[in-house]
Symmetry: C2
Subunit: 504 residues, 2 copies
């Protein structure tokens, strides 16, 4: 049977590099032959439990070899993998299980939470029970199921800062092309040793790091959670060459007491996503001979979309870069034609890595695409060299006196103030201007900056219409389980009804 | 317009690395921005000459930037590129032009031969005329033509040791997937500097070397013809990191007076195709710290099919390796099921890199495929680790007394004799055995080995039924323009009618 999907990857690697190390987890090493044998046995065990082509198989747990074994096993059966975010509440998990229609759930840990989710079949995915399941699998022969590139490989829920989360369907071809784009844009080698401390249930940890390294035949060191203090020891122990993280993770490393003396000599590739890397962070790593590769993407695009290479990390700091090789990206106006250089438009993306649509949501899918382009909803500008800078989410845009105001720009300016730890900007109604920006600020611990002085610090740095007309000091900002700001809740809590006339 | 084809590659690279060097030829350097601008202008010039989607555009000349410019320009128009082998006779070229139906021919040199080929439009592809053509092109804007991965990108004629050459149609997707397989199996980096001394009109020089390097954004140094003495100077001048050749080329380098002192320090990757690398040659390069990557492929598979990595160059010497990542290869019996380990069967291949068929030859295409697998016609064995050793062409197999005899095995044994420069083995009719092997040998210059002693050297090395019953000493063997042995002519010249009873 022809298998063009991810489920065939362990077999394809095992015929080339059976004895090389694919995974390391808690000191246990799995070769590619091991990975191939284990995922094949798991596939037969799942099939024995009734899992068939198209069925959804959910997984709940932090980074673990069984996550990848389940992904590949489901793939080889033509079944659909549904990774769940461990940080979600039981109600949120229950929604995703019900929405996806998963009848099988693999989980690590004691399974207490899993049992509350009323999935017909729950399977322990670590420990003796799991090892027994694999050892007693009905077969270890290749699975005889034809899988094509356009078959859906996984459903990954977008974190949904507004409304219900939507399940992005990603095909085997989508994930494969994203890994290929990583191979073109990163100089990955077969001897790569990657530190996988970003969660595999997020698209970046899986697709920008783990799958490309497995495609090349390298080694992935899986850790349950990012531990800044322990990271240096892992680097030395395993000779980590490649690491992915969000800027906060890389920033935390520089704040460790061990930072000045840590041995970073094995590191070759640092890739960073989620937000542009701030220039001081770029400088801190450059002093250690390391440069960031930066990316912009989204779950729906599997996810790599824009890429800023090491050569341009400084000269184009703040930009998200240019499109990955096998991707087409445009910044367009409402008529879908590209806007002029330095004008703001919406980022749209097209390519073999872009999802066919949202699971069970035909009208949302239709709304998400125009003329074959996926509409990201992100506002951006393109410079004369084609480098794209993400400005903000379009739906967060404030229109004040006819001017477009992007909260992200104001937030960046506020964050430059030493007393600002976190901040967010929303629009509130205004009789004169229609809408005006309002800032909500979490002060850095131990400081109590007056609102007036924070606002005054923006004078001369931002146009007058962009300077918030009010500023609230709060203790924390509402965020999703994955750390994304929930702007809708900000608007409810700190919007028009809040009496704030005296606070500016 | 969406362009998923090779024609979009220069634009995709130019948006990433416009100022990096794509090509160097005779001391002239072309950046990716140059390549993009030039191929776009050429596309508009070709369109102005009437070239439309699906039209065939032929190219005749040694390695030159205009070869690649024409390939990409044709690709961006949805036209089909037809590279011609400069070593062919005028009659052979005329056949390929007529068969492909090319109405446009680009050529380098004085065009004397091109003019005899009666193509409606001939275009000089170097010098002032060509530069004028590009400079005066009607436009340098992106070409507005939709091109899909399944559109035919080029027709490459197989050298045809029997019968007429057949035009293998290779789609944009075929060539792209082959380049991806190279990226997975070779540790290519963006700073690669490749020496392209193998001809671009052959599949290996184009697809195993040039296109993967351009995909990564590296530099290709194009030279007209392989010059063993001049190669070391090029390595030093350009810091060559990557080179492809047939074993003869690498052997010739070791025979240069400069070999012992040549600076090879920039070299990282040596890839070798066409035949397994003999162990002494492996050893000679290993002494210099270099290991061969070896491949087996064919024009119809764009071409990479089997791959022997550096780690196994010695332990699996003589083998062609295991399948490339995105390729499926089996060695099968007449019923198309895989043969047991160490049994001989036919190599069949399937994957996104395999051609859809031969141009204008539906019945030959049908005969070339069984159940979706391309039948290579090559006989091979697979060992217990899955490593494939090519034994011979099936149609060259001799059946002697019911035993299968593979000429290539006998030829390899004869070549081990110090006085044998070249040799070939054919089958001749025999009253007792049905068929028996006959050897035709070109002695090494300055030697005159008796036939008896050459045959005696095989005793104990080959089973008795494999030892030729006759051996002829000749001055040269009949070869095609590309150096392939023409076994059919050998059979006519040295077959049953030749009186040779007294020669053994």
């Amino acid at each position: 049977m022809r298998n063009e999907g991810l489920g065939s990857w362990p077999a394809r690697r095992a015929r080339k590099t059976p004895h090389r190390t694919a995974l390391i987890h808690n000191g246990t090493t799995y070769t590619y032959a091991d990975l191939h044998d284990r995922m094949t046995r798991l596939a037969h065990a799942l099939r024995a439990q009734g899992v068939r082509r198209g069925d959804r198989v959910a997984y709940l747990g932090p980074n673990h070899p069984s996550y990848l074994e389940t992904l590949f096993a489901a793939g080889t059966l033509g079944a659909v993998f549904v990774p769940l975010n461990t940080r979600l509440s039981t109600a949120e998990l229950a929604y995703q299980i019900a929405d996806s229609g998963a009848k099988t759930l693999l989980h690590t840990g004691d399974g207490e939470q899993a049992r509350t989710l009323s999935v017909p079949v729950t399977i322990e995915a670590e420990g003796a029970g799991y090892e027994d399941l694999l050892a007693s699998a009905p077969s270890s022969d290749p699975v005889d199921e034809a899988v094509g590139g356009d078959d859906v490989c996984l459903i990954m829920y977008t974190s949904g800062t507004t409304g219900r989360p939507k399940g992005a369907m990603l095909t085997h071809a989508n994930l494969t092309w994203n890994a290929i784009n990583v191979l073109v844009d990163h100089d990955l080698i077969a001897d790569e040793v990657a530190l996988v401390s970003a969660p595999l249930f997020h698209t970046a940890g899986l697709n920008m790091l783990t799958l490309p390294v497995l495609l090349k035949g390298g080694t992935c060191v899986l850790v349950d959670a990012f531990d800044p203090a322990g990271t240096f020891a892992l680097m030395e122990q395993y000779g980590i060459t490649f690491m992915f993280g969000v800027p906060t993770m890389f920033d935390l490393l520089t704040r460790q007491p061990a930072w000045p003396t840590a041995d970073l000599s094995s590191l070759r590739l640092l890739t960073c996503g989620g937000a542009p890397v701030p220039p001081p962070l770029i400088a801190a790593y450059q002093e250690r001979g390391l440069t960031f590769l930066q990316g912009y993407g989204m779950t729906e695009a599997a996810p790599g979309t824009l890429f800023l290479d090491a050569e341009h990390a400084v000269s184009k700091a703040g930009s998200a870069g240019v499109p990955h090789f096998f991707s087409d990206v445009q910044v367009v106006g409402p008529d879908l034609t590209p806007v002029a250089a330095d004008e703001t438009g919406e980022v749209v993306v097209r390519g073999p890595h872009v999802m066919p649509g949202y699971w069970g949501l035909p009208s949302e899918t239709e709304a998400a695409f125009s003329d074959g382009w996926f509409r990201t909803g992100d506002a951006a500008r393109v410079d004369a060299d084609g480098y794209v800078t993400i400005v903000d989410r379009f739906k967060d845009m404030i229109i004040s006196g006819g001017e477009n105001v992007y909260p992200a720009e104001i937030e960046a300016a506020l964050l430059a103030h030493p007393d600002v730890a976190e901040c967010a900007v929303i629009g509130v109604p205004d009789e004169k201007w229609g809408e005006v920006p309002r800032a909500i600020v979490v002060p850095r611990e131990g400081t109590a900056p007056p609102a007036e002085s924070l606002l005054a610090s923006l004078s001369g740095r931002l146009a007058k219409y962009k300077i918030p007309k009010s500023l609230l000091l709060v203790e924390e900002l509402p965020r999703t389980a994955s750390g994304k700001l929930i702007k809708s809740r900000l608007r409810t809590t700190y919007g028009p009804d809040e009496q704030d006339s005296g606070k500016q």
